[in-house]
Amino acid sequence: SQTIHQWPATLVQPVGSPLSLECTVEGTSNPNLYWYRQAAGRGLQLLFYSVGIGQISSEVPQNLSASRPQDRQFILSSKKLLLSDSGFYLCAWSKGRWGASMYFGPGTRLTVL
């Protein structure tokens, strides 16, 4: 069966510090991968998606970046965090076909102080 992992689960970082969040998927190959951010009590904002190794599409211009060094690994990074980067970050995968469901990881709670 497919599994999606995210780490760390929680993170508290000072403003201006770097960020690296990791997501890995098991049990499927060549998935579409996604990074979402969710503010408290709000909906999901799509940040990045990837349809293959090294292929990244950005939905929202900001100080975050994403990389996909391996088929089932998706990394969200920042060189210098802002207060506004605080939120709940969710990684997800999908097969990208019509009617395909999306499978979410457990999320990372990021607090920037």
């Binding site: 579409n32 990208g96 019509w98 395909a100 469901s101 999306m102 499978y103 979410f104």
Partner: protein, 114 residues
């Protein structure tokens, strides 16, 4: 921007009552999905309804779709305290690069009181 908008934003009911959440969207769709999110967790897929379907059931869940009104509803019957969660609708659109892309609404926060 969000394609789907859920209504109400928050709903509080007693255990045993039915909960109805609505979703409105703007553009034509092929499928609409509903997801559930427990507090501090990832989203979990509940049910998918295709554009040529009007109603679908799964256990205590009943989903309806009215493409003429561009709206869908999720009904949870005989609610339980464990149903407390946020519920999101998601509509799809085809992207030539990414394939099927889902756009999520803002969600309805449901609280079921024991």
């Amino acid at each position: 921007s969000q394609q789907g908008e859920e209504d109400p934003q928050a709903l509080s009911i007693q255990e045993g009552e039915n909960a109805t959440m609505n979703c409105s969207y703007k553009t034509s769709i092929n499928n609409l999905q509903w997801y559930r999110q427990n507090s501090g967790r990832g989203l979990v897929h509940l049910i998918l309804i295709r554009s040529n379907e009007r109603e679908k059931h799964s256990g205590r869940l009943r989903v309806t779709l009215d493409t003429s009104k561009k709206s869908s509803s999720l009904l949870i019957t005989a609610s339980r305290a464990a149903d407390t969660a946020s519920y999101f609708c998601a509509t799809d659109a085809w992207d030539n690069n990414a394939g099927n892309m889902l756009t999520f609404g803002g969600g309805t926060r449901l609280m079921v009181k024991p």
